[in-house]
Point group: C2
Chain length 298, copies 2
């Protein structure tokens, strides 16, 4: 089976799990439930729950306790897109060719659907306490990591710094650029891999390794994004290139040049793969997935 075939099968498997945790569209609050489900089911590669499940398996996990956490991380990722798309933020009408949530349901309902998804992510993750009564301490640790990486010291923190940098039109320095990438992009990938390991009962050292892997993948992914904005094929990417140059935006490529940026992507991904191979169990799919994400051309 080719990697693309394996990936498609894994996407379908993950979507089935995530969907099973979505709320039924009934009751007086039905509209928000429809808006939440519309947002989650609007597509996406399901990378975060997929990586979480791979990290769980890599550390010997084979139970159901991971499933509510997989749904939770996808709900958190989705709420962040719903709120990012709002008129007061990026004001986007379309995402992946579909109407954004506020374009489809109105602004008030999009705010509430985002709130609903964020809150329901934690409500859903709490279902793990019933699924696996024997591992309440691990579930508590996973909730702690999930909430921290999603919040003001994680994804929201990066989003705030990014919004401010764009609104004020300020030249940001490289330190702030790295802060934005590490928090806005990498934090949820770190959370995915760390929660997978924690729920499988991994050691503190193994969990820290997963954090490093997530950081490296997130950063490499972002730098590759910047590289493609210079060297990519517009037809293949499905979007115009050169937008960073046009917007005079500081990127890793601008600060260090294309050669150095490509070398950095290589270095970050090689480190991540080495850490993944350190584990006595093997997970070839996770390694292939890492290579595919980092070296993508679209």
């Amino acid at each position: 089976m080719s990697f693309d075939e394996k990936l498609s099968a894994r996407v379908a498997e993950v979507e089935q799990i995530v969907s099973s945790y979505l709320p039924k569209e009934e009751g007086y609050q039905k509209t928000v439930l429809e808006a939440m489900n519309y947002s989650v089911l609007a597509g996406g590669k399901r990378l975060r729950p997929m990586m979480m499940q791979e990290a769980y398996r890599l550390h010997g996990g084979d139970g159901k306790v991971i499933e509510p956490f997989m749904a939770a991380i996808e709900m958190i990722h989705t709420y962040s897109l719903v709120h990012d798309d709002l008129p007061a933020m990026d004001n986007d009408q379309y995402r992946r060719g579909k109407l954004t949530t506020h374009a489809a349901y109105g602004e008030a309902m999009a705010i509430l659907a985002g709130d609903g998804l964020l809150n329901y992510a934690f409500e859903t993750a709490c279902k793990a306490f019933e699924i696996a009564p024997g591992v309440h301490t691990a579930i508590g640790k996973a909730l702690t990591v999930l909430s921290r990486k999603a919040g003001i010291y994680g994804m929201i923190g990066g989003q705030v710094a990014d919004v401010e940098a764009e609104k004020k039109g300020l030249r940001i320095d490289e330190d702030k650029l790295m802060f934005i990438h590490a928090h806005k992009t990498a934090a949820l990938i770190e959370a995915s891999l760390m929660c997978g390991a924690i729920l499988a009962g991994a050691s503190g050292e193994d969990v820290r390794d997963m954090e490093t892997v997530g950081y490296n993948i997130g950063l490499a992914f972002q730098i590759q994004d910047d590289i493609l904005d210079v060297t990519g094929n517009e037809a293949e990417l499905g979007k115009p290139i050169g937008s960073d140059e046009k917007n005079d935006k500081l990127t890793y490529v601008k600060a260090h040049g294309l050669t150095e940026a490509a070398a950095q992507v290589e270095k970050l991904s090689a480190e991540a793969i080495a850490l993944l191979q350190k584990n006595t169990l093997q997970d070839d799919f996770l390694i292939e997935l890492t290579r595919a994400l980092v070296h993508r051309t679209k």
Copy 2:
């Protein structure tokens, strides 16, 4: 000491605890941290964390594990106000005589501050796992209740039904009215009392009693609000009366008349107080607080 003096002392005590869990205003995400703290410190009676702490004491709790949950419920209450005040929702510029969060920090930052508070509420509650390593199961149960009562089957659910009823200008029936009151108003009071009991190690029956008490207080509080909109003293209330009549809004008073509404407030509060007195421990302050909330004239 009069009840008002006791209440002031308790507000100060609760505020000290809640404040100690607020984030330090530093780092690249500083603006959102300022907006979050501004919102929480803008005032309020701190009823939810206060009732949570009373319920904890009523069931024999005397540790620190309750404190992060007290901060969490106040953060959740606050985020709901921040998002309710947004231009796409109620579009309010002032609350308690102060600029609302979006009026002070802009709309994008108010959305992110609300998200930040909701997420940080769960992050803060998770600190209980470190404070009290011996009671992870109770903490898991409390997190489950907190997330459910705050979410689509609790406060957010009520808010959605309320927003839709107002936007569509529909005549709502009494069943929907009770749904809105029970979810928008009562759910967080139920969560406060239930989490207090759970974290003190109360029995399932005692926790269900606390849910009933919270429901009764929330509903009585709301009906009293509607009564005051007809019979209140504008100077004492600090706001115009008669707004429900003017807006042709269905209220309990409109459906049943003033006499029946007052009798219902009496019945709900008497039931709540009877349940509170059932406990072998006594908490006179909580009973006095219940009476004061339900029979208030402003």
